[in-house]
């Protein structure tokens, strides 16, 4: 019974990409490939290729953007796809929506698939909103009569009624997105593919869009594939989540399970850089920062931080001297990725006393009840002083990555251009 419900089946999909400049040697490789084909041999460039790890320098100029992807989707499922940048999420969606073809493997589907890779595709500035709805709808695979029967709903949903007969070039970018999403929302494919659309539009529209997506999948039994970096909307929408890493499926399962696995697993590479061996320190060296990490409330080491949740930052600090050290101040200054100081944690602000015995190594823990940062990368500077003398000072000692979590407990997030800091608030 369950098997009949499978609407999409992906078998051994791989996708190879060529790195570097396409141009030099292209003709050469093409000829070589063609020569092998004539002799009935296998494509010589399919054998080479490395996993697609952006950070590591590879030796081959071919990489596998996707490697041996296998999964199935049942009708009505909302599958979230998460992963770091470059993990292969968008490539997978592109292959699924037939924008590009896989290097190997096969995809079978039982319904029409339509993608919403980026809304507003094919909008022409000189044409009116109404004309663009027709054109965009047709591009997405609707017929003229299908669109005509829905045009009123589409206009209503977009909230652009007043401007519908005005050329789109006069629209604000928000309005364009609304109109484009409206077209797509009234599209009736069996499988809808969405990539990061919800990052746009104002809050009211986002709510509408999420609601519409839930309607589509629950009420109308439509299947959705949803790619996002936004853990809040993934948590809110998806029934199942798949984590991609270096072009392979890392884990595929229930939403909460996969998200917490993801947050635990992905350590920022720079975090691993040994603080202990940093030479660019200032101060008299009586104290030394050896290491640092983050713990979640259960005391587990984690490396990806979700806004809104409680964490402990742990600093491993050693007293290099054989004296007992008193009157210690330890502080952590947090900077954003443009080196603007956002805030500072310091034991002299909280009036807590830290002392070190002779050659003692201590774990200094700083508890932060709810991470108030927008998603992004944050850097920090470590500072320790003893009796007002600087003992150790490491500028840019490390960084941490924050993912959007459910800070407001509503599944909603602040738009990325609306600041860096999240503050709990209530309206009365």
């Amino acid at each position: 019974m369950m098997k009949e419900d499978i609407i999409l089946k992906v078998e051994d999909i791989s996708k190879q990409y060529r790195l570097g400049l396409i141009g030099t040697g292209t003709l050469n490789h093409d000829l070589n490939r063609w020569w092998c084909k004539i002799r009935g041999k296998e494509d010589p460039y399919l054998k080479i290729g490395e996993t697609n790890d952006r950070a590591k320098k590879g030796t081959s100029s071919y990489v596998w953007g996707l490697r041996d992807i296998n999964f199935e989707i049942r009708r009505g499922e909302i599958l979230g796809i998460i992963g770091k940048n470059g993990a292969g999420k968008s490539t997978l969606l592109k292959v699924l929506s037939r924008v590009t073809s896989p290097t190997t493997g096969e995809i079978k589907m039982k319904g029409r698939i339509a993608s919403l890779l980026e809304v507003g595709t094919g909008f022409h500035g000189e044409m009116t909103g109404r004309e663009n709805v027709f054109l965009n709808g047709a591009i997405l695979g609707m017929t003229k009569s299908e669109i005509a029967s829905k045009i009123d709903d589409i206009i209503e949903f977009s909230g652009c009624h007043r401007y519908i007969d005005t050329p789109v070039k006069r629209y604000s970018s928000g309005m364009t997105v609304r109109l484009a999403f409206a077209v797509a929302a009234f599209l009736e494919p069996d499988i809808l593919v969405i990539d990061e659309v919800l990052a746009v539009g104002d809050a009211e529209f986002q709510k509408k869009a999420i609601g519409k997506m839930q309607d589509i999948s629950k009420g109308e039994g439509r299947t959705i594939l949803f790619v996002s970096h936004n853990m809040a909307s993934i948590q809110n929408l998806c029934t199942r989540v798949m984590l991609l890493d270096n072009g392979k499926i890392d884990i595929d399962g229930a939403t909460d399970e996969v998200i917490s696995y993801y947050l635990k697993k992905f350590r920022n590479k720079e975090v691993e850089q040994k603080l202990i061996s940093r030479a660019d320190r200032k101060g008299n060296g009586k104290l030394k920062f050896l290491d640092y990490w983050f713990e979640n409330i259960k005391g587990e080491k984690i490396n990806l931080i979700q806004s809104g949740l409680a964490y402990k930052m742990v600093l491993k600090v050693q007293n290099i001297t054989t004296n007992n050290l008193k009157n210690i101040r330890i502080s952590v200054g947090i900077d954003d990725d443009q080196s603007r100081r956002l805030t500072i944690f310091s034991n002299d602000l909280t009036n807590q006393v830290i002392e070190f015995k002779s050659v003692e190594t201590k774990l200094v823990k700083i508890r932060i009840p709810a991470i108030p940062f927008q998603s992004g990368t944050y850097h920090f500077t470590l500072f320790a002083s003893e009796n007002q003398n600087i003992s150790d000072w490491v500028i840019n000692a490390g960084s941490f990555e924050v993912e959007n979590g459910d800070f407001f407990n509503t599944g909603r997030i602040i738009e990325s251009n609306q600041g860096y800091i999240l503050i709990e608030h209530e309206f009365h």
Binding site: R18, S101, K108
Partner: protein, 288 residues
């Protein structure tokens, strides 16, 4: 369960001709909407607007008449107004040229949209050709008005008469469309990797015009340059333009064999273009 019923299969394997007419038919509305977009938006925010459709061929014919007929005195035949002769050549040449240049950048020009949504890619060049047929129709009207003017309001066009072969006009339009589309698809497929062709094209189109009997009759070329007359004689576009001129105003020669030759070439070029285009559309987005 052994063989399940799948609606679509996306596979890495490529067939030589993978032309799904049913699917293209399903996207017929899209073709029409693209045609509408092309026609409506070209001259938005211009003062003359659609008048530009008339201005360009008229001015070109005027200049050609001045340079090639008055200055270089290329004969256009007895009782054949040179202006009408040139206008016929330019009207048909323009149609071919627009089909070729319009389709030859299909992939590069539409990479944004192709990179996001799937629809049969051939819809794009197809709509370009259809909108060019409409533009050709407009220019044909201009040509007819001038024909009437020369015929009934001057005394110079004693011999300019449409021939019975004018019934072949639709075939000629289709053949030129196929040629333009075929070459356009080949070029657009190759430019995804080798951008050199874009530069070559503008240049080549200009040269091709001189080799396509636009401003001279084929017979005159044969008479003056007999050694290289094959360049024009076997150039399918030259044959089509000459035929167009013959059937509309009776200038030049007509040969059924040549027409068959051109038909064969056009169909071959079109089919080859289709194969290349199909091969490219699957993964051009990775190389474009």
């Amino acid at each position: 369960m052994k063989e399940e019923e799948w609606l679509y299969t996306i596979s890495s394997k490529k067939r030589l001709i993978d032309f799904n007419f049913k699917e293209i038919w399903r996207y017929k509305d899209l073709v029409l909407l693209f045609v509408k977009r092309d026609i409506v938006t070209v001259y938005k925010q211009t003062i003359l607007g659609p008048l530009w459709y008339f201005v360009q061929p008229l001015l070109t014919s005027l200049i050609f008449t001045l340079i090639f007929n008055n200055l270089a005195s290329i004969p256009t035949g007895n009782g054949m107004p040179p202006f009408l002769f040139n206008l016929a050549g330019i009207t048909s040449w323009n149609y071919f040229k627009l089909c070729l240049t319009g389709t030859s950048n299909t992939f590069v020009k539409n990479q944004d949209i192709f990179g996001k949504v799937y629809f049969p890619r051939v819809v794009m060049p197809l709509s370009v050709v259809i909108s060019n047929i409409l533009k050709f129709g407009i220019q044909l009207l201009v040509f007819i008005s001038f024909y009437i003017y020369f015929k009934y309001f001057t005394h110079s066009s004693t011999n300019a008469l449409p021939q019975i072969e004018i019934v072949l006009l639709p075939i000629i339009i289709v053949l030129m469309g196929l040629l333009g589309l075929g070459f356009g698809m080949i070029i657009s497929s190759m430019t995804t990797k080798y951008r050199d062709l874009t530069f070559l094209l503008t240049f080549a189109v200009q040269l091709l015009m001189y080799g396509s009997a636009v401003m001279y009759p084929i017979s005159y070329f044969k008479e003056k340059l007999p050694n290289i007359s094959w360049v024009v004689e076997y150039n399918p576009i030259a044959v089509i333009i000459e035929t167009f001129r013959y059937i509309t105003i009776g200038a030049g020669d007509f040969s059924l064999y040549k027409m068959l030759y051109v038909s064969l070439i056009s169909v071959l070029v079109f089919l080859f273009g289709l194969i290349v285009f199909n091969k490219t559309e699957k993964s051009f987005i990775d190389t474009v």
